[in-house]
């Protein structure tokens, strides 16, 4: 088996016994199956046709696969609308979060040179210690007139203190020689930020953007709190309503078209809500260890 490739093993490592090897593999296989299987099941139900789900049938490999559920959703209606909202909020929000986080991180990266910036840094670090609470935050958003607007989903979370510290730490590790040399050549701070800081920290920026994006995409509490107009709801709230609270999905139903089973539509919504994350995941995965450890141990 693949386990016996010995390339990475140090010379003193014993050859593992067959028993321990198979035991290890068995445990890992169980872990992997437990993690993958539920998603597989959801995907396969979403692709099943009515015949696959009848009576006692369990649809792990749909025999008569169909995209009917997805067609129903994408024809328009509530889910499609929610999808557009989520994509918009996630794309704009991630961009705004990155702009705010990187600029402040750069502004606070030279606390010894810039008078007053250490004070701002303490303000930021202080927010790691406390949270004003649900009710004061709600009252603030209402006071600012942002209830039932999309900025309410983005603006209160523009900068996460944790992400800021990770990025700042990364900026501080960029050798001062580089920025000094650029300064000698007449570069201003904006050029240094844009031409040196950002390009050199792609790894950490990728991970931080992923964190912001995932948080915005899957956030359901803020929309629940701030958006009472159901027509403006993003995908997690629609998912909660139709899948978890079991409401019937009223969508754009074409006359004379066969209705797909309700479960398949529900599962198709789950799949659609998961796919964007699965799409970006492989591209960002190689930055994980690098990006996460930059700030995980010591802020």
């Amino acid at each position: 088996m693949a386990v016996q490739t010995n390339a990475a093993a140090p010379f003193w490592r014993e050859r593992p016994s067959v028993l321990s090897q198979s035991l290890k593999l068995a445990i890992l296989v169980v872990v992997v199956v437990v993690m993958v299987f539920p998603f597989w099941y959801v995907l396969s139900v979403s692709l099943s046709s009515e015949r696959d789900l009848q009576g006692a049938n369990i649809s792990l490999f749909p025999l008569h696969p169909t995209l009917l559920a997805y067609q129903t959703i994408l024809q328009g209606g509530v889910v499609f609308n929610a999808l557009l909202v989520s994509v918009g909020v996630t794309v704009i929000g991630t961009f705004a979060c990155m702009v705010m986080t990187t600029t402040l991180a750069y502004g606070l990266s030279r606390t010894n040179d810039v008078p007053g910036s250490r004070f701002v840094l303490f303000l930021v670090l202080g927010t790691l210690l406390f949270n004003a609470g649900i009710i004061p935050n709600y009252l603030l958003v209402r006071f600012l007139g942002m209830l039932n607007t999309y900025p309410a989903l983005i603006v209160p979370g523009l900068i996460s203190a944790f992400n800021l510290i990770v990025v700042r730490q990364f900026f501080m590790n960029i050798p001062a020689d580089l920025t000094d040399a650029a300064m000698m050549d007449g570069a201003n701070p904006f050029q240094i930020f844009w031409r040196i800081m950002l390009p050199l920290s792609k790894a950490v920026l990728a991970v931080v953007a992923l964190f912001y994006g995932v948080a915005l995409w899957s956030d359901y509490f803020q929309p629940l709190l701030y958006i009472s107009n159901t027509a403006m709801w993003p995908i997690p709230l629609v998912l909660r309503l139709y899948v978890l609270q079991g409401q019937a999905l009223s969508g754009a139903q074409q006359v004379g078209q066969p209705l797909p089973p309700a479960t398949t539509v529900q599962m198709a919504v789950v799949v659609i809500a998961t796919v964007p994350i699965l799409v970006v995941y492989p591209f960002l995965q190689r930055y994980f260890t690098q990006g996460v450890l930059a700030g995980a141990i010591k802020g």
């Binding site: 010995n6 004003a132 009252l139 523009l158 701070p189 359901y220 789950v270 995965q285 994980f288």
Partner: protein
């Protein structure tokens, strides 16, 4: 040569200015720095305003905890009731129930998370095949990036009333069980879901700690005749002890907070007795039931104790000789 370089270093260093420290108003030296770095303030200002408005300003909102607050009257016109809300908090059995549930669920989550994560990290680390390790890592990291709504929906599709489990039980002629709506199963389910989502991702930090252990420690152990289990016990585990203690303490510091989104989603199915935690209590009582003063008081108490716990946890980390977070 050496002599020369030290003298230049001394010459470059700015003169000490003992009086400047005592003055509150910045002196000319500081002002010249400010002018030189003026563009840096353009970077700082937007973020600074964000933190003031969205992190510090809401703290004032906690004044609601001392009022019989009504949204129509606002902060200034609502009746001031002093500590009445806090008195009500201690006599309200629902608050005690929420606190107990919070501590039980978080306690169980922490208790199970660490052995599972460290175990999985050790298992992954012992794999010799690098490609196999990579594949398994990318699979187990993934649930961390799936939001709670999707995750709970997926669980419900397998374990819920109309889910796969009940189809199988039905085919075998067994009575159905609904694990998602059973109050007795609620707390174990919360723990299992938490493990499902977080254990894989948690290994990343332990794997990094394991990879930082010096190879000569293992070599010395082998020379002394240590087998694989002895190396695990005497080299690997001591090597990751520091980070494990740090993470454990930090988790204990957050014991009043975690799990909010996960529980808010699933509490309606099992009722408040089994599922209410402090944060969901605040949401249901305050935002939904309009019981603003009481729930703001609960939120404020939670916030203050939470802050104290985090600071204490950090102190304990330092006392144990580990790096804290600050």
């Amino acid at each position: 040569m050496i002599q020369e370089s030290t003298t230049t270093a001394v010459a470059i260093r700015p003169r000490p200015q003992p009086l400047a420290r005592l003055r509150w108003w910045p002196n000319a030296h500081v002002w010249s720095k400010v002018r030189r770095e003026r563009w840096m303030y353009a970077f700082i200002l937007p973020g600074f305003l964000f933190f003031v408005v969205f992190r510090y300003l809401p703290l004032l909102g906690n004044v609601v905890a001392f009022e019989d607050y009504s949204p129509y009257l606002g902060f200034f016109n609502s009746r001031w009731v002093g500590l009445d809300n806090f008195a009500a908090l201690f006599t309200n059995p629902a608050v005690g129930n929420a606190l107990l549930n919070t501590l039980i669920i978080n306690g169980l989550q922490i208790l199970c998370y660490f052995p599972a994560t460290i175990g999985l990290a050790l298992l992954l680390n012992s794999l010799i095949s690098v490609p196999l390790k990579r594949v398994i890592q990318s699979i187990v990291y993934l649930p961390y990036f799936i939001g709670w709504v999707v995750l709970v929906s997926v669980w419900a599709s397998v374990l819920g009333g109309d889910g796969l489990l009940n189809h199988i039980l039905g085919n075998w002629g067994l009575p159905p069980v609904n694990l998602m709506r059973n109050p007795a199963a609620f707390k174990p389910m919360m723990v299992l879901q938490y493990l499902f989502k977080n254990v894989g991702w948690g290994t990343i930090i332990f794997l990094a700690a394991i990879s930082k252990i010096e190879p000569y420690l293992y070599e010395a152990a082998v020379v002394d005749g240590a087998g694989p289990w002895q190396r695990l016990w005497h080299v690997t585990l001591p090597g990751i002890r520091g980070i494990a203690v740090l993470l454990l303490i930090l988790n204990l510091g957050n014991v009043l907070t975690t799990g909010f989104e996960q529980i808010l989603l699933q509490e309606p199915a099992v009722g408040a007795q089994a599922g209410d935690v402090l944060d969901t209590f605040v949401y249901f009582q305050g935002i939904l039931a309009g019981n603003w003063g009481l729930s703001a008081a609960v939120g404020l108490c939670k916030g203050v104790f939470g802050t104290v716990l985090i600071i204490l946890a950090n102190k304990v980390a330092h006392l144990l000789g580990e790096q804290g977070v600050f």
